[in-house]
Amino acid sequence: MDKPGVSQTAPIVEVQSLTRRFGGITAVDRLSFDVARGAIFGLLGTNGAGKSTTIKMLTTLLPPTSGSARIAGFDIADEPQEVRRHIGYVAQMLSADGELTGYENLLISAKLYGIPKSLRSERIAGALEFMELGDQADRLVGQYSGGMIRRLEIAQAMLHHPEMLFLDEPTVGLDPAAKMAVWERIRVLRQEYGTTVLMTTHDMNEADQLCDFVAFMHMGRLVAMGRPAELKRQLGPDADLDEVFIHYTGTSIASERGDYQDVRRTRRTAQRLE
């Protein structure tokens, strides 16, 4: 059995036939994939494709209907507590508390993660510094910009130096400059701490720029997986990732147009998943 630290080459995330149904709707359908240690792995798909449901299962927020997954060697269903100790998670919504200061947000997290008092202030200062928020620590988060909040949330999620970081749509709603800042921090995080990152996005450019591997989800299923460059090459010399996505799913992720039926279905699904 792979326990953390025993074998650095074993995948840090192992997902096998992971399935989640809500009533009659199958939100995630027999999903299987591995994520190598130190990789930045992108899960791509339109709204309602099952990305967020997958992340919720992998972060132990939602029990799977069937199938299994191991994170850092621990089973999400049998050892959720151990999984939680080894991961950091930034939710799609803004999870930093606007009524607290940046420092206070991190302080509460440090305590929840049981970081001993002797290490706490050093870790908090380090995380704030790393996310370039050192001078904003004592301001209420309610006054932060969207990009600052995202960086604070990532700081919050990395306080306990997790091996594995889950980011659900980390740059959605950010302006281009803020987006680049978040990308850059994610890259440095991987470089300095060797953190593995699993992120969802529906920004093809983001996936192309940032991710070592991408997996496309469509209607709960995994339809393609590989390095962005390989996937593009298979399709043609000038293909971009959006064309690859259309090739595998039959819909464009960028436009998100779809017909009325389509929108109605995804909206309803999204509602159910809340």
């Binding site: 972060t59 927020l61 009524e99 509460i108 997290s109 305590k111 929840l112």
Partner: protein, 271 residues
């Protein structure tokens, strides 16, 4: 072999230390928010003041409620305190729905903090809000000439009782929030719950006055035990009618039950 129990004991004590750290962290988040914006504490003081100053004063003049040798204001002051603790606590769950919509609850649930500590921490912090109610009641009651027991032991006892009641009703409120899941439904249910809990208790009239069916319901209502303990601790020459042992064990049992249910149901709020 002899090392084993010692190792187990130290593992247990470090688990206990972690539990306390996580529980107080949950409460601390809430208390720090109150410190940044204490307006809520003051607006919440208005309702109990109105009940005591208007309802209490007027009813005291009618002399319609048989409260024995005790004046009606003396009788009702602890009842109003229990009532405002109930009102503050029963809507506590709405903040959980709010935080769920924002994504804050997710952050707590993916942390390794035990689910029990997340629940107990919230109960603890709701006690802080409720304590502000005790302060205002003491203050007003003193100026209205209510015969208060002001020795420190009794005052501490009142605050402990307020904390206990607030933990029961706020945890109950969390359960309701996890079941109904939306703010609109929660507001409706909250209204439906508070009034029966309030009227089917000994808060503003004694149990002895009630028709038998209501009396039966009242003796199953944790608020009655809350009021009974508060009255005996707060007012001169009053005695607990159920007895302190009963008052506190009934409340403790309610607290354990709601914590157990809330701990199980809490993770479903984000599903």
């Amino acid at each position: 072999m002899s090392a084993e129990p010692a190792a187990r004991r130290s593992a247990l004590s470090s688990r206990a230390a972690e539990f306390i750290l996580q529980t107080t962290a949950v409460a601390e988040a809430d208390i720090r928010k109150l410190r940044h914006d204490p307006a809520e504490l003051f607006t919440r003081m208005i309702q109990p003041a109105l009940w005591l100053l208007i309802f209490g004063q007027v009813l005291a003049r009618t002399r319609a409620v048989p409260t024995g040798t005790m004046g009606y204001l003396d009788f009702i002051a602890p009842g109003i305190l229990a009532q405002s603790v109930l009102f503050v606590s029963i809507f506590y769950g709405i903040s959980l729905i709010w935080e769920r919509d924002l994504g804050i609850v997710h952050k707590f649930l993916v942390s390794p903090a035990s689910r029990v500590s997340l629940i107990v921490g919230r109960g603890l912090s709701s006690g802080v809000r409720a304590s502000s109610q005790a302060l205002v009641i003491y203050f007003l009651a003193y100026f209205l000439g209510v015969k208060l027991r002001l020795d420190p032991g009794c005052v501490v006892g009142v605050f402990v009782t307020v904390w206990l009641g607030s933990a029961i009703f706020s945890t109950f409120s969390l359960i309701v929030a996890c079941i109904v899941k939306t703010r609109e439904r929660f507001m409706g249910i909250g209204q439906v719950l508070t009034m029966p809990l309030f009227f089917a208790s000994n808060a503003i009239y004694p149990l002895a006055m009630m028709p038998p069916w209501l009396k039966t319901i009242s003796t199953m209502n944790p608020l009655s035990y809350q009021v009974d303990a508060l009255r005996a601790l707060m007012i001169e020459n009053s005695v607990s009618s159920f007895g302190f042992a009963t008052d506190f064990s009934v409340q403790a049992v309610f607290l354990v039950i709601v914590i157990a249910i809330a701990t199980r149901i809490f993770p479903t709020i984000v599903r």
